[in-house]
Symmetry: C2
Subunit: 287 residues, 2 copies
Amino acid sequence: MTAALLEGKPIAEKIKSALKNEIAALKTKAGCSPMLVAIQIGDNASSAVYVKNQKKVAEELGIEYELTTLPADASQADVEKLIAEFNEDDAVTAIILQLPVPKAIDPKKVIGMIAPSKDAEGMNPWNLGKILCGNYKIGPCTAMAVMELLESTGVKLYGKEACVIGHSEIVGKPLALMLLKKFATTTVCHIATGERGVLADHVERAEILIVAVGKPGLIKGEWIKDGAIVVDVGINRVGDKIVGDVEFDAAAIRASLITPVPGGVGPLTTVILMRNVVELFKESFKL
Amino acid sequence: MTAALLEGKPIAEKIKSALKNEIAALKTKAGCSPMLVAIQIGDNASSAVYVKNQKKVAEELGIEYELTTLPADASQADVEKLIAEFNEDDAVTAIILQLPVPKAIDPKKVIGMIAPSKDAEGMNPWNLGKILCGNYKIGPCTAMAVMELLESTGVKLYGKEACVIGHSEIVGKPLALMLLKKFATTTVCHIATGERGVLADHVERAEILIVAVGKPGLIKGEWIKDGAIVVDVGINRVGDKIVGDVEFDAAAIRASLITPVPGGVGPLTTVILMRNVVELFKESFKL
């Protein structure tokens, strides 16, 4: 292995420490606290882990955190009513819908109803559109986390060849817009790229490679360009191990920097969520 | 020249004819007409041409069209007040801010204030975000026009190598998202790509090439991939001629289809604007 590890934890700690100080000052100025309300519908083991972690980080930083649970058989109307109440409630400064939700609920519709000014995950169309406009302070946590990792390297993105594998709404597409804002030449690949047989060609050209698909071993180590920066967003359970989408060992021989999985993007997402909450609070209170 | 011409006019005529019938039926159902209000601030020769053309097409189709002019020294507050009035007015179903505006006016802020449900140009962040979500019926007219041109060819975009030159908010970025929705592998190039000296490399790989920069001769004919479809969005005055961004004659030897300039994207944009107006009307009246 020649690549250095691009780890999320030290960056997360830095952001947390800065946020802690900022929040203390903001509370004094505003005379109230940012409050994040999480909505969980039904029971879900992975969602429960997220909620626990969110609560811990929020409280550590000085953000009030409240969990509201609805039963698994809640209707779309129930959820929408709750969102409308939280939108109206001045004490609630940010809202997050915990995913996944039961099948009867349309999560996109619910997220579209969250007031853009309280949209902690930056997934409301208004906030996604602001990313397209290049005029944003909040955004989907994973995409924002990738940008933090890239910026921490000190590498200038201007004119770099960037390749994003995966064109989801929460990672690939917003991330491509963020990379374009930094003037990287940006290519987005997806399943049809693979079917066409040209995925390797695109990866081989990438100086900045971000993979967010969810398929272990999708990206072969020998495809990686010498000296590339590789951010692996994939989290896949293989046997009793968690691995990414990139063949780590083989890729690390060629890359200059590579994220470990776990330990790359993951440790950053909850902190970025809290930073979103703080940005929304500042915007609402004109601080 | 071996390329066939990809002309906008016949497609525009087809869309117009379908819209005319649709609007007649919608008016009967809704008991009222779609009404597009254009706001022009100060005098501007090119804006006057657009307005005249919009009025003509709107009336031809059965859309009411009203021009509201504000003096050149109107303030930001004046414009915002007007937008708020039109947002509230049920008779107004769509609003367009004519660009350019005088320097004292922030057009982005104004466009962001237009109710998303009345945003004729699809430039409000909410509507741009819906494009990212892949769930849109309206969009920026030029980007939508390019998609119409591409779709008229019958060529499947799935898995194609697409390259967009120019990363503006009104063409390049929304267009890239539209191409991704169709599963084209999509690269966006811009000034930093050129500075890096790799613009030719990207163009040479493009099966679908869209150029929206505004620099005559930027794309050399010999860069064009054999059989490529070339859509040239550029409109540049050179001497007494209007030319695009692509060296037309040399590109036409290699391309399979190429838009003439003028006569490619141009004839479609006003018709697409009217289609946006109709889609907004249908959405508002649940038709």
